[in-house]
């Protein structure tokens, strides 16, 4: 569906040239959500803008259904919808409905069809009642939902979302998240950047972590999480460990990580190590015993935090 090949971009600034994006490639299939993660300045927005044709790459190309942005600009952009970073994406002095009809007409959607679509989309985000209010009277969360509807008026098979939930309250974020999930279910290829790793973890079929303009880690979300999960068991006590803890644990592969926590690395011993540990700890009251499961926050920290940049 969407294929990005070896995108490269550097910018001339007052202090010299910045290599913003250095050879980024990826694919997003129909019905798939790819989360693009990375620290500020990693090159996410530049990549999204190159995909949307707003920034011209020095190198590389963007393909939608096999056709190239460089040689079929209008054909490709007609198949992309985008909600761009931080910006309003809408005319504040026009009503919600006027905005949707305007952007639909700009993308050659016939009038009657665009009315139907606008009503349908607004209904999905619970904003049908606000259709005839000007955008400036809406809350930030509502505006962002309208921006999402705007990006969908021409039924694009590819949707680009640059930090769509930034600065939104919990409920608005949740409803945008739900909407994105449904859109992917409908078969849209979604490329999403976000700093909210919990949202990425819930939504993304695949993740790509970008750093200094390069993809440093990419894969299926579940596989990436597995890869970063360690065979650890964490034990959390309900009250501080007794003074003779070290003696009790003698010979077990255990690290005490706090006054009431410890970690077991069972290794070849497997479950037997866990039962042995529990027997030695008894009858000290325990709060939790759990296997370690990585989350994206941890993956992100390890990938972005440990590698030293150029």
């Amino acid at each position: 569906m969407l294929r990005v090949q070896d995108l490269t971009k550097s910018f001339q600034t007052r202090t010299g040239r910045i290599a913003a994006v250095r050879g980024i490639s990826f694919e997003v299939q129909a019905g798939e959500v790819l989360a693009f993660l990375g620290p500020n300045g990693a090159g996410k927005t530049t990549t999204i803008k190159m995909t949307a044709g707003l920034v011209r790459p020095d190198h590389g190309d963007v393909l939608v259904d096999g056709r190239s942005l460089a040689s079929h600009h209008d054909w490709v952009t007609a198949r992309i919808g985008a909600v761009l970073e931080g910006s309003r994406n809408l005319y504040w002095r026009l009503t919600v409905m006027e905005n949707l009809l305007y952007w639909a007409a700009m993308r050659r959607v016939p009038g009657r069809l665009s009315r139907e679509r606008a009503s349908h989309l607004l209904d999905r985000v619970d904003l049908l009642a606000r259709a005839h209010n000007t955008v400036q009277t809406l809350s930030r969360g509502m505006q962002q939902k309208v921006a999402l509807c705007q990006a969908l008026m021409h039924h694009p098979p590819v949707l680009l979302l640059d930090e769509p939930t930034l600065g939104l309250d919990y409920e608005s974020s949740e409803s945008i998240k739900e909407m994105v999930r449904e859109l992917a279910h409908d078969g849209i290829a979604v490329l999403l950047t976000t700093h909210q790793l919990d949202i990425a973890q819930e939504l993304a079929d695949r993740v790509a972590i970008v750093r200094d303009g390069q993809v440093v880690l990419e894969g299926q979300t579940a596989a990436v999480l597995d890869r970063f999960s360690r065979p650890l068991v964490q034990v959390v006590a309900a009250e501080p460990w007794p003074a003779d803890l070290d003696q009790r644990l003698l010979g077990l592969p255990v690290t005490v990580t706090g006054p009431d926590t410890l970690e077991l690395l069972p290794g070849d011993l497997g479950e037997r190590a866990l039962y042995a540990l529990l027997a030695r700890l008894a009858p000290h009251p325990l709060a939790r015993v759990e296997r370690h499961q990585a989350d994206l926050a941890q993956v992100f920290l390890e990938v972005v935090g440990t590698r030293v940049g150029p």
């Binding site: 707003l54 952009t77 761009l84 006027e98």
Partner: protein, 257 residues
Amino acid sequence: MRWLVIAEWRRMVVGLVRYPIDTIASTLTLFLVFAGLFYGARYITSSPIGGGRLSTVVLGYTVWIVMMAATGDMAWSVQNEAQNGTLEQVMMVPWNAVWVFFVRAVMAIVGMLVPVGAVLVALLAMTHVHLAWRSAALVPMAMVIGTAWGLGLLVAGVALLLKRVGQVLQIVQFLLLFVIVSPVAVLPGIGWHLAAMAIPFAAQVFLLHGLLTSGATATIWLWVESLFNLLFMLASGILLFMGADRLARRQGILGHY
């Protein structure tokens, strides 16, 4: 092209209907500026601007308002839309951006036609200038509008690259007022003829004057200069805008940067 025109037409109409005060205020300002110039000149020189000169000044000022509508609207909208993010959405629609902005320049002037007509009537009443209507004058009027589109595109292109063009534009617009009513177009010599082809509206104002004022004439030179000026401004507007569009995308400055 049909969709584009419909979309921009609706947006313009909504703007006019929802915020009529904006249009009324700017029309009134334009009238008051002229009144200030008119009575100010009379006060300072203690003699009124007379006869044929006065009618070119009135026509020139009217043309100048049309030009203001196109250039001001284009600069303002590019500048604002770059800030609030709609510019990037506009530049993403599956059209060559030059057509989008061309249609916007057209609408900027269409939206100003009624106010401009009102100002012209008021000026004629105030200055006691009499114009004799001739339908041939529709041609230079159309040329004025076309030239203003070209100039609007030119300004939009500059604004794409520089964003904050507002202040500079005001100075340029003011200088243009004096150039427009200066008699470059009717001076003899090939040098002046060439200058009149390059300076927006200079020949068209005198062509209008020649057609609409009894006793004045529209020479063949005025027709040639007016036509070349139209073509020159349209071509430079389109080319400059397309170049600016390409450069802005290369530098990544359509948005906040």
